[in-house]
């Protein structure tokens, strides 16, 4: 009863506080703008994605009679679909790129990152709900909570409340619930609007678990900030000191630690630049068969082994086109080399990501952001999943093209052979399906776990400070 009375009183006090209500209204306005621009952006991207995919496939299917290997060099694209939850958490999508060019002999990095877009309206889309939740919402909580206990001490109310039999534990609990109520008053309408959006886009069923989990993750984060705000308010003597401590923690958690960890991660696990990467790939490619060069030492050895296996002396005596086979052999060797080098890059990214995940121990903002990106399917793990699928498709498509050459081309030369137009129309299609599970990699659970630990620890802070103050 006492705790409820204090909570209700705190809630009433806060919603009558002009500063809190003004900032709360401003944040709601920003959230509305961010969702509206996010939805527009999502729809635009989804439309562009569909169009680009259709154009690429149309161009592939209608390239007419052509040598299959020429078509392999002509290439095609794999496009990463935008997830509906990217409206709320765009994650690394804008930096990783949205498409991968698929061609013979070569595994490419993604291209066309949204960050390259110079359109100012799109830059405005960077004001995302996730950004507001991670950076601005904590400021509202700090502003609402920094003087929750100090104001009672400064006004003499604390003493008066104690004379009424209110314990510090009850005061802390009541203030915490009151602050939670304010958070929920702003947060719940936003999430209900989000649910409506999912409903109208017809993605509610598929996105609901992720959406709800994302909602819980951000609530945990807000809880951490609220609990820390009240803990600091209980520990400090004046509202001014409380504000200074809390703003310092905010700067540390949202600005300094992420920046510092980014620098440390790229220092400890440096990613080679593109020139270095392709130079290393080229060096390794010289150690194996080149599907285009029949005169190299490796090609000759391969040819001899094939001739021996079929008991013939010349490639023209083979029951298939040797060039087609050699191109496929080259493709498979190149795949091994590219896989090896891309695996190294992936390992570097994984190490960086692991370091970043662990740094969430020092910053609840990092924990919340990484968890939110994982749930929205916009983190590096999601992108790597798409890249792996695109590469698997490239290999399958190249095999299909090389096999056609191998089976249908006459003689020992690939040049001159053309596949019919309908052959390309029948080639396999790339359709990327996002994984069914919310978490596609165990590494994604680390920041979620750290978020939960932060939340539990922040409650522990409240309990410890209340007990300590009770004994004073």
């Amino acid at each position: 009863m006492t705790i409820f009375a204090i909570a209700w009183n705190e809630f009433t006090r806060l919603i009558r506080d002009n500063v809190v209500t003004t900032l709360g209204a401003l944040i709601l306005l920003l959230l509305t703008i961010s969702v509206v621009t996010g939805i527009t952006y999502y729809q635009e991207m989804a439309e562009q994605h569909a169009q680009a995919e259709e154009i690429a496939r149309h161009q592939w299917e209608h390239q007419g009679e052509k040598n299959p290997h020429s078509a392999a060099h002509y290439g095609t694209f794999a496009f990463k679909p935008v997830t509906v939850l990217s409206v709320f958490e765009p994650g690394v999508d804008r930096y990783t790129g949205v498409s991968i060019f698929l061609e013979a002999h070569r595994q490419n990095f993604s291209a066309h990152s949204l960050a390259e877009d110079k359109d100012t309206s799109r830059r405005f889309a960077e004001l995302t709900p996730a950004f507001i939740f991670a950076y601005l919402f904590p400021l509202l909580i700090i502003l609402a909570g920094y003087r929750s206990i100090t104001a009672e001490k400064e006004s003499g109310m604390y003493r008066f409340l104690k004379s009424q039999g209110v314990s510090i534990g009850q005061l802390v609990a009541g203030k915490t619930f009151g602050l939670w109520a304010v958070i929920l008053v702003i947060y719940i309408p936003f999430w209900l609007t989000g649910l409506l959006f999912l409903l109208f886009t017809g993605t509610l069923a598929s996105s609901l678990p992720g959406f709800l989990l994302m909602g819980i993750i951000w609530l945990l984060y807000f809880g951490v900030i609220a609990h820390i705000a009240i803990t600091v308010s209980a520990l400090t003597k004046s509202s001014g000191s409380s504000m200074v401590v809390l703003l310092s923690l905010w700067i540390l958690s949202t600005l300094l630690v992420p920046r510092l960890i980014t620098n440390v991660a790229s220092g400890v696990h440096p990613v080679p630049n593109t020139t270095e990467f392709y130079q290393a790939v080229r060096t390794d490619l010289l150690e194996g068969i080149d599907g285009h060069n029949p005169y190299s030492e490796h090609s000759a050895a391969f040819r001899d082994s094939v001739l021996a296996a079929h008991g013939v002396d010349d490639v023209t005596d083979l029951p298939f086109n040797f060039r087609g086979l050699m191109l496929q052999e080259g493709e498979e060797f190149e795949k091994k080399i590219y896989d090896h080098h891309f695996a190294k890059i992936d390992e570097i990214h994984r190490n960086q990501n692991r370091l970043f995940s662990m740094s969430a121990i020092f910053s609840p903002a990092i924990a919340a952001r990484m968890s939110s990106m994982a749930v929205a399917g916009t983190d590096m793990h999601a992108f790597n999943h798409f890249s792996a699928e695109a590469e698997a498709y490239r290999i399958a498509l190249m095999r299909e093209l090389n096999m056609d050459l191998k089976i249908n081309a006459v003689g020992d030369r690939a040049v001159g052979y053309t596949a019919g137009g309908d052959f390309f129309a029948q080639n396999i299609t790339f359709t990327y399906e996002s994984p069914d599970t919310i978490f596609i990699n165990p590494g994604q659970l680390t920041p979620v776990l750290i978020s939960v630990i932060w939340f539990a620890t922040s409650i522990l802070f409240l309990v410890v400070v209340a007990r300590r103050k009770e004994q004073e």
Partner: protein
């Protein structure tokens, strides 16, 4: 009933209250006079259990405040010199909140009635406390005591800074509370108000209760003389 038995409190070896023996019965207003630092507020803090006694005990309605902190606090209302109320809430809302802390749920009508009984105008009762004068805030405190049916009132210089009219209103309210059977302990510097309102008057000096008088048996001028003599001693 309020009771202090050999109640003592020292801070860093300096006695703030020394061997205080005091009994205040229901329907009695006990005015505690003394200079700043005489030990008046410390005595009130000991009854509120905000500080622990070095020796002796403080009892409210027969219960030791250190052994029964929750029960004893339910029986009392404390009104300090500057009563803290939540400025963004109205008088009604403040009263409802403070009563709610003790589990007493008041309707708006009941709240207004209590506030009116304490002398606050009905239109003021619904206004935010940020616009209240000190006298009006003290009336909310008295309304709280009435609503909680407090057996004990602990008042720490409640009329300090009040204009004569407001001070007189407050004195009338104390009389009402006395008639309702509350035991009132009021620390004050106001000799006139102590004589007019008190049943008994105690004078404290350097932590010791040096004189106890019946208000009805002493004149204003004699009270002043006795008080000054003790202060100069």
């Amino acid at each position: 009933m309020l009771e202090a038995i050999q109640l003592s409190k020292s801070f860093n070896g300096t006695a703030a209250v020394s061997n205080l023996d005091l009994t205040i019965n229901s329907g009695e207003v006990y005015c505690l006079l003394g200079a700043n630092g005489a030990g008046k507020t410390t005595t009130i803090n000991l009854f509120l259990n905000l500080i622990q006694p070095s020796n002796g005990s403080a009892k409210i309605s027969g219960l030791d405040v250190t052994e029964h902190p929750i029960e004893t606090k339910k029986k009392l209302t404390y009104i300090p010199e500057n009563l803290s109320l939540y400025p963004s809430l109205s008088g009604v809302e403040n009263l409802q909140f403070f009563c709610g802390l003790s589990g007493i749920k008041l309707s708006d009508g009941e709240s207004v009635a209590y506030l009116k009984e304490a002398g606050l105008q009905e239109d003021a009762a619904h206004k935010r406390v940020s616009g209240y004068s000190k006298g009006m805030r003290q009336k909310v405190g008295i309304a709280l005591a009435i609503a909680r049916k407090s057996e004990v009132l602990l008042l720490d210089e409640p009329t300090s800074g009040l204009d004569p009219s407001a001070s007189n209103d407050f004195a009338s309210l104390l009389t009402t509370m006395k008639e309702k059977g509350s035991a009132v302990l009021m620390a004050t510097h106001d000799l006139f108000r102590a004589k007019e309102t008190g049943t008994r008057i105690g004078i404290m000096n350097k932590g010791t209760l040096v004189e106890e008088l019946k208000a009805a048996e002493v004149s204003h001028s004699d009270l002043e003389k006795i008080y000054l003599n003790h202060m100069r001693a």
